[in-house]
């Protein structure tokens, strides 16, 4: 079984990847961490992002979280609003 997830990139992450979002077909049961590994393989420049946290469906989420179909995973570089 495969599911579909969207990964969103912002700021430096977006510039390194060259995209603001990608939609991936992944195996059911995949964790955030495993998606990150796959992104690093597909986008070598992604490794240049010095630091980031992740969010799933607009909530900060641990990297051990398992993703569901249509989940939105966001790569959040250190925020600098204000």
């Amino acid at each position: 079984m495969t599911i579909s997830i969207t990964v969103k990139f912002f700021a430096l992450g977006r510039e390194l990847i060259g995209k603001s979002a990608v939609t991936l077909d992944v195996e059911e049961g995949i964790s955030v961490e495993q998606v990150l590994t796959r992104l690093q393989a597909e986008y070598p420049s992604f490794a240049k992002l010095p630091s980031f946290v992740t969010a799933v469906n607009t909530r900060y989420a641990d990297k051990t979280i398992v993703l569901k179909n249509n989940d939105e995973l966001a790569i959040i570089p250190p925020v600098s609003g204000g």
Binding site: F10, A11, T58, R59, I76, S80, G81
Partner: protein, 138 residues
């Protein structure tokens, strides 16, 4: 009542302040964040802001709710710019109405501090000879 807003267009400070007016309150504290002309002695031309809209709005709303619970704020407004803001322009406005004075300062300072660490908004400093995504200092 909260007023939460992310906007490509200039923020309307009088309107924001008016939105938190409450007859049960004696104090309104307002923080206005503006674009400085220098950073680390280097001339800044402008700042470009980018946001993860849906999440930023949710996190801003959460801050407003926290101010109501912890400081008894009657009304909170948190408005932030996206896009380009020139030197002297307004990047963020936070307004908090509370019954008494001390709480208004504490709540507003907490709000801007929390916004800067949790709300997914990013700024890029644009110089004459380059640009850089701002990395927050610890």
């Amino acid at each position: 009542m909260n007023s939460i807003h992310l906007s490509e267009t200039p923020l309307n400070v009088p309107q924001i302040i008016a939105s938190v007016q409450d007859n049960s309150c004696g104090a309104v504290n307002i923080f206005v964040g503006t674009v400085r002309n220098t950073t680390a002695s280097k001339a800044v031309l402008r700042l470009d802001f980018e946001a993860y809209f849906a999440m930023a709005l949710r996190e801003m709303e959460q801050i407003a709710n926290e101010l109501q619970t912890r400081w008894n704020a009657a009304a909170v407004a948190i408005h932030h710019r996206t896009g380009s803001v020139e030197v002297g322009g307004i990047a963020v406005v936070i307004a908090v109405a509370t019954p008494h004075r001390k709480a208004s300062f504490e709540a507003c300072e907490y709000a801007i501090g929390t916004l800067k660490t949790t709300v997914p908004i990013w700024k890029k400093e644009i110089f004459e000879d380059g640009e850089v995504w701002v990395t927050p200092h610890a």
